[in-house]
Symmetry: C2
């Protein structure tokens, strides 16, 4: 008998008909001799409806109340799922974060899980009843409701699986797993049956929106096997697991594109120690995450300093950087939000030199200019003009041999 945590996203719970279908899937797993704990998101559209109500009252709702409001979406789903399960003869009980409790830190709207109390859950499971737990939410030490950020239900599910020592955490969503690229951009993208936590972290962080990145970090830390699959039918799925010694990995397992960043350059910066710190510390103080950073050594003791940051933070960042530029007597500040970051990710890179060269050549062959480069042990990213984004993904997908075979061959 296995203990399985099953998580269902909002699109899998969009209507009562969806909920009944999911209930039948849960009951089938339980009737197959497993213990099942369920984690649910809000019905699709519900969180946006609640946000709309809050925004109609205040441009900046207090985060404490915003969390209390949004958390009701999952409470509705959990109660409805328990009703649906009971209606088909599967004993079930809903629990919210206050009832378990599921404890987090104090950071409203982006809280981190500290501890999941399992007493109620284990009692329920041992009584043959399916606990249905609200995803996305927790309580802080003061007993206030917190939320975990968009996609936080994935993290709730992994935390539950970890606390319950589950054999497996299944993430049901509207896609049947992870692909070598976004199939909308790259029609020849292939489905992956298995991928490592490390690769998934690079892919999730770079814009493949299958899983909340923190859920993968947590699964990696506690070695919780994740299985991503569709609640809309089909037999395919993707395992996300730790790297196995004898795993025969492709050099590159995925090509991703990230459209969320902009580029900012400070031209004519005096080449003195401490300049990077002076430029970046006001941004850090303002809570703006800087991603890639390059410094071009120029002539006459001057450099250009360039970095990328979220497009959404560009307006907030610009006056801060202009202020520093005046103080250090830099020549100019330029911004560019017509960029994308394309990346090749693969655990096999560790042992295969020459991947970067292959990537640069493939882009050069299409006359795509590379503006910035960054690498990790298992990833190479290039910033390019946004108009070449889709072309670059398809080009790299072919260059690294990821295309699925054409039909009939």
């Amino acid at each position: 008998m296995a203990l399985i945590v099953q998580k269902f996203g909002g699109s899998s719970l969009a209507t009562p008909e969806h909920i009944i279908r999911v209930a039948n899937m849960i009951a089938a797993t339980r009737n197959g001799g497993n213990m099942v704990a369920v984690v649910v998101s809000a019905m699709s559209g519900e969180t946006d409806r609640l946000i709309g109500l809050a925004k109609a009252l205040s441009l900046a709702p207090p985060e404490r109340e915003y969390d209390a409001l949004l958390a009701t979406g999952e409470q509705v789903s959990a109660a409805l799922m328990a009703i649906a399960l009971e209606s088909i003869g599967c004993p079930a009980r809903s629990f919210n974060a206050l009832q378990l409790p599921l404890r987090t830190d104090d950071s409203h709207t982006k809280a981190r899980i500290l501890q999941v109390e399992t007493k109620l859950l284990l009692e329920t499971l041992e009584a043959g009843i399916v606990p249905v737990v609200t995803g996305f939410q927790g309580i802080n030490a003061a007993g206030e409701i917190t939320t975990l950020g968009r996609g936080g239900s994935d993290t709730s599910a992994v935390a539950l699986a970890m606390a319950l020592k589950a054999d497996l955490c299944e993430i049901y969503t509207d896609v049947d797993g992870v692909y070598t690229a976004d199939p909308d951009i790259c029609p020849r993208a292939r489905h992956l049956d298995k991928i490592t936590y490390e690769e998934m972290l690079e892919l999730a962080g770079l814009g493949a929106k299958v899983l909340q990145i923190r859920s993968v970090e947590l699964a990696q830390k506690y070695e919780v096997p994740l299985l991503v699959r569709s609640s809309f039918g089909g037999t395919r799925s993707t395992w996300i697991v730790k790297e196995e010694k004898d795993m025969e990995s492709a050099v590159v397992n995925g090509i991703t594109i990230d459209r969320s960043e902009a580029k900012m350059s400070i031209i004519g910066v005096p080449d003195r120690p401490g300049i990077a710190y002076r430029i970046l510390s006001p941004l850090a103080d303002a809570g703006i995450n800087v991603d890639m950073i390059i410094q071009n050594v120029g002539s006459a003791g001057q450099t250009d300093f360039t970095f990328t940051l979220p497009k959404a933070d560009l307006d907030k960042a610009l006056p801060l950087v202009q202020q520093v530029a005046r103080e250090i007597k830099a020549a100019d500040v330029r911004t560019d939000d017509c960029i994308v970051k394309v990346s090749a990710v693969g655990i096999g890179m560790k042992n295969h030199p020459g991947v970067a060269a292959r990537m640069f050549k493939a882009l050069a062959d299409e006359n795509i200019n590379i503006q910035m480069i960054s690498t990790s042990e298992i990833r190479i990213s290039c910033v390019i003009d946004s108009k070449y984004g889709e072309l670059a993904v398809r080009t790299l997908h072919s260059a690294f041999g990821l295309d699925k075979p054409e039909k009939g061959k």
Copy 2:
């Protein structure tokens, strides 16, 4: 400085615009130097929306989950009201029943309040912050969410006022108080500035749907002064208070009509001891509340036994009563759902004989036949043919001198 509990019903919170208007009323009370605790219902339509979702999944949703589902309606309102208050500069914090906690018994969907923990509320009030509490809900000893039945937010508000030793409990609704009759039926109905708990209990129980009856019982028991007023403007309101020694009460203060009951008669019942018990105990076992009961002594050792019961329970009751009728060899069982109960209510009746005679004469003058009569110390009720209902209300309203003066006189 007074401590005031203000309760707002669903129609007062129907849209973000309604919520902002109510927030301004709360802030005005607070800025007038009072401490204010707020109790909110679900936005109008929200409870029905949630019920619709549950019924789409199951004809008989488990009560535990049904309560967990419906309780989210008030949690949404409480968070939105706190957001609205903060947005106009009035510090506020929402609390649900789990957070306080507000403890009830185990009776899902119709729980009774056992205890309101005031520690969090008092801390909040003393910090100058308005606590906004979810009405209608509590938790049982197992930590499960319970609800108090339709209109239960009134009872939540009174329980809060009692626990906080508030000076006053204001119930904001869509009418500006209690009238001598339903103005839709009786255009000359007068507004009442003051009424006793006892009178309100008779009026509420008889179909004047201003307040949940249990809230009035609780207010009477703990002598919490209630003030019913409109959140849609106007300066009128109705105090609901205990009877004062020197209160100069009208003989009759209100005429009500109750359309919710049906009549059932068992004809030709052997006139033996214990017959009433045999007829009524199966109904009690089935949870059916019998209201008025009369037994007409007939000829030849036989009687007719007649009682009223909720129309909604008629189908459930009929086979039970038919079974008993066969066992006791009664002649027939007859039902009639074309009846109404009209009542005259007034604390002054205690000291004024002849009220019943005046009532019967007024109805007789209009050729309205009285089918059943029941009385309490401050109420006389007559069951009549439903087609005379409105006529009877207007006739009695005039007969007891309740009509407001015509304009210009």
